[in-house]
Amino acid sequence: MVSRLVQNTKVMKHAATFLLPSSAVSATNRLAQTYALVVLNQQIPKFTPLLWSHAKLRICADGGANRIFDGVPKLFPDQNQLNIQHRYVPNVIKGDMDSIRPEVHQFYAELGSEIIDNSENQDTNDLHKCISFIREQTSAFDHSNFCTLVTGALGGRFDHEAANLNALYVFSDMRIVLLSDDCQIRLLPKTHQHEIHIQSTIEGPHCGLFPIGGPSVSTTTTGLTWDLCNSEMKFGSMISTSNKVREEKVTVCSDADLLWTISLKTPIHMGLTC
């Protein structure tokens, strides 16, 4: 039972400060994290420039490059479109290269994006490949201080969405957050107790906890409208959907890996002058 006690004392803290303008991230809510951004091939959320401003490494997965090229200028309709395109140049474009348009490929290649063609590797999906790449680049960093933000992982074909959710489980020792205009999703690994610091100006109140990988015999939470208390959760029976955050700090402790989701308030004020 000693090892169980050791497990239960490891606390993992989470805070969506990447959704606050940099000026609003204070010493108290900053988690001293370094961010990477992965853009997959779906319509970008409206707050993508904010994520871009926080990220040290910006990667487009194949057609995600089209989404940045076409989508970011539309978020700044009063600005010169070509200027915007020059400001939002990914560090890396990675994938099969069967979706990126030739003119987008050329534009970013000429501006210095590293283009990595993976078409020979059909075994894993685009998100898996990008996260593996980030993992290789950040081996010198402490993974607990590095967080990968992902846009475009939800919606569209369900098997793509499932593969993207599976990436959270496959790379469960890395912080990865899937983001859409409506919500964010993270994995809460069973190896830790979790503290989620709610940024109530930009997220909530709707939230949920899901044991998609396998049932939970015992999950306990605090800070939710319908808290769980050593509760069992499994598909076919009770899972925590349409819950609400009640306090600024939510805690979760479980014997199973859980997906945590929380709704996003719109619009998100980006605090950017571009």
């Binding site: 369900f158 499932a162 496959v170 899901f210 396998g214």
Partner: protein
């Protein structure tokens, strides 16, 4: 183990008589019901509506029918379209349906059922329970419930909707979007899926949501499984491709089958 047959013939423009096959009896004719949830209607919603014998809107799904059915028939008078596509029942919390929409359907005699007292189950759960109890079919194995608006949007809603498939695992329920459909393959049966190639495929997947599979076997896919283990954190079958028009699946776990829908579907 008993075999369960599946065919997305509800996506075909005209009901097709099932051709007898040497290797199998044709699946029994199904009775369809349609549930409309509160998201943008897929472009083939009228096709499903016409196929269904019972049409239920879950709360704000009524807004979607009211606003969006006319948009799918831009050359026709909106009110005539609304009269043609009137639900049988509107059910749920009733906190999303607009007043003008509620009044319009009340005046047409649509039954509107307020379930706001019941906060324990989702709108889809309530509608499936209602359809299961009310549908004009005695043998529930011949009932197929089609659902639009269950995928996309808030993730906890989507997961709650998928859990309804698990909770009512003895019913045929298909969740549909413009891009794909999903339904449960319960572990209690082995499965034969007759792929309707004019309207669906080739992209497909098998996903063990809720519990891992120690052994799954398939035929008819590009990357078949052979007593293969699947789990989140390990292998799940995504970006697979249908190679034959008959797919078989048998597993020790409940699996979600998903297949892409071809565009456009003609009505």
């Amino acid at each position: 183990m008993e075999v369960m047959w599946h065919a997305s013939s509800f996506l075909l423009p005209q009901p097709q008589p099932q051709e007898p096959r040497e290797d199998a009896p044709p699946p029994a004719a199904l009775t369809y019901a349609l549930i409309v949830l509160n998201q943008r209607l897929p472009r083939f919603a009228p096709l499903l509506w016409n196929r269904a014998q019972l049409r239920v809107c879950a709360d704000g799904g009524a807004n979607r029918v009211y606003d969006n059915m006319p948009k799918l028939f831009p050359d026709q008078d909106p009110q005539e379209v609304r009269l043609r596509y009137t639900p049988d029942v509107i059910k749920g919390d009733l906190d999303s349906i607009r007043d003008d929409v509620k009044e319009f359907y009340l005046n047409l005699g649509v039954r509107i059922v307020d379930e706001s007292h019941d906060q324990d189950t989702t709108d889809l759960h309530k509608c499936v329970a209602y359809v299961s109890g009310s549908a004009p079919v005695e043998d529930k194995s011949k009932l197929c419930i089609l659902v639009v608006g269950a995928l996309g949007g808030r993730f906890d809603h989507e997961i709650g909707n998928i859990n309804v498939l698990h909770r009512f695992s003895n019913l045929r329920i298909v969740l549909l979007s413009d891009d794909c459909l999903i339904h449960l393959l319960p572990k209690t049966h082995s499965h034969v899926i007759h792929v309707q190639l004019p309207v669906e495929g080739p992209h497909c997947g098998l996903i063990p949501i809720g519990a891992p599979s120690a052994r799954t076997s398939t035929t008819g896919l590009q990357w078949n499984l052979s007593d293969t283990a699947m789990s989140f954190g390990g292998l799940i079958s995504t970006s697979n491709v249908v190679k034959e028009d008959k797919i078989t699946v048998s597993s020790d776990a409940d699996l979600i089958w998903t297949i892409s829908i071809k565009k456009p579907i003609k009505e």
